[in-house]
Each structure stands twice: as C-alpha cells, then as structure tokens.
C-alpha cells in the first residue's frame, strides 16, 4: 500500500491511494496532507482508482482531513470510487459531506 502525490497544472495536490486505506496507514495519509497544508497547499484531490478497500478508520481520516482543509480555506475532493467503495460512503452518508467525482479528470476540470 502506498500514497503517490503529484501536483497538477492548476495547483491541485493529487494523492493516489494504492492498496488499502485502513487503520494501519491512515496516519501516513494525514501526515502527507498535513505537510502539504504546512507548505501552503489548499486544494486536494484524493483518488481511489487503484484502491482495494477502505475501513472505518480510513473514512474517519478523510472526515478529519476534510475538516482541517476547510478550516484553512481549502477544499478536498475525492474521485475514482468503484461501486463497492462508493457504497461505503453511501451507507455512512459520507457521500453528503464530500464532493465525489467519477474520475480524477472530472474532479480537476472545475477545481
């Protein structure tokens, strides 16, 4: 499992989650986004196109990160959720808290 960070031409930090987002690595994601916030970054896209599964700790980390980014005047979006991953957001009603795009391209188009 790994997080791959890039920055698009529009200044959006794109983090791709490869493998799982779970209790064992959620802090790594929080640290990665936290460091980017400290550098002054404010726009974030987390892409799950290559993610196997997410647990409730991973969902909680996303909620926590979204709050922190918003408090600093930024925005965090999500993309690439397959049907199973999207069902986790729907079951927990977290789909009402996040801007979720089908693809990273769609998420970045109007960021």
């Amino acid at each position: 499992m790994a997080f791959h960070q890039t920055k698009d031409a529009g200044g959006v930090v794109v983090v791709r989650v490869e493998g799982q987002l779970i209790v064992g690595n959620r802090q790594e994601l929080k640290d990665l986004i936290g460091a980017a916030l400290d550098r002054g970054e404010r726009k974030f896209l987390i892409d799950f196109g290559r993610t196997g599964y997410i647990d409730s700790s991973g969902l909680g980390a996303l909620v926590s990160l979204s709050k922190r980014v918003r408090e600093l005047g930024g925005e965090l979006r999500l993309s690439g959720l397959n049907e199973d991953l999207r069902s986790l957001f729907e079951l927990t009603k977290l789909d009402t808290l996040f801007a979720i795009a089908d693809t990273p391209e769609q998420a970045l188009a109007n960021f």
Binding site: Q20, V23, G24, G52, Y53, D55, S64, L91, T92
Partner: protein, 154 residues
C-alpha cells in the same frame, strides 16, 4: 522476517450439517500493523477453490478489517502479549467468521448510530455499523469480546 501470524487450516466433517466444512484458524498479535496481512490471509483461504464475486470479496475484507481493528484496539487495547483469534468455518453456501479478543468485552447495543445527523461528521464510530451493513448475520457472545459474522456466498 517470519510472519507473526499462526495459521491452521483443516478440512473436517462439520457436525450437524451435510456438507464438509473447511476450518481456518489464525492467531495474530495485537498489532495494528498485522491487520492488513491477516485480512489478506483469511480472505484468501475463505475464498480458495471458489469463484467469488468482487462484492463478496469486498464485504469479507471490510468486515474482517473492522472486526480485527476493534479486537486489537478496543478489546486488547494493543497490549503486547494479548492475541486475537480468527476462526472461520467455510461451507458451500456461506462463510462464518468469528473474531475473539482477550478484552473485557462491550455491549454492542450501546454503540451510537453513526448516521444520525449529529454523528455523521464524527471521525470514528462507524466500524460496527459497517459490519452490520455488509454481512448477513452478526452475533456476539455474552461477554461481548467475540463477534461471529456470516456471509452468504451469493
């Protein structure tokens, strides 16, 4: 490095049912870092020899990850020396997985509903809720330190 997990798999006539059940037993230390490997190991054995749907694999992985995280962090409080037991009985039509910790147990009826409007934005408390949504049956022992989850292979 040797795996910290202890695995035992055996095929045995299951008592009281016509089918032969395969039993999978895994003992894992109370370390968060072992959860992903345990999920992978148990899932592989539970689905071996079948053509599972992606949905079944996903439901099993998430339910296992949640039950193991609860056992390691809440049940055993990540105490060194305490272990978590995973016992899976595999039947042709269903998978039954029991996860047991060495903690004092808890009352599952007292867990708040995470989709209430005032709870939705909380950063924790969705684990048991997800298990209930993803598996077909959930039972706890009286002490509350062992959860039994049944998933039908449909």
């Amino acid at each position: 490095m040797a795996s910290p997990l202890q695995l035992c798999v055996r095929r045995t006539p299951a008592s009281g049912v016509p089918a032969v059940a395969t039993q999978v037993h895994v003992r894992m230390p109370s370390e968060v870092e072992c959860i992903e490997q345990t999920v992978s190991l148990v899932t592989r054995h539970c689905l071996a020899g079948t053509v599972p749907t992606d949905r079944l694999r996903f439901r099993l992985q998430v339910a296992l990850a949640e039950a193991l995280a609860n056992a390691v962090m809440r049940g055993n409080q990540e105490e060194t020396g305490k272990t978590v037991l995973v016992d899976a009985d595999l039947f042709p039509d269903c998978i039954r997985v029991q996860v047991t910790d060495e903690g004092a147990g808890f009352d599952p009826t007292q867990v708040p509903d995470p989709v209430l409007p005032e709870q939705i934005a909380d950063t924790c408390g969705r684990g048991l809720f997800l298990i209930r949504k993803l598996v077909d049956e959930v039972h706890f022992n009286e002490q509350g330190n062992s959860i039994c989850m049944t998933l039908r292979r449909r």
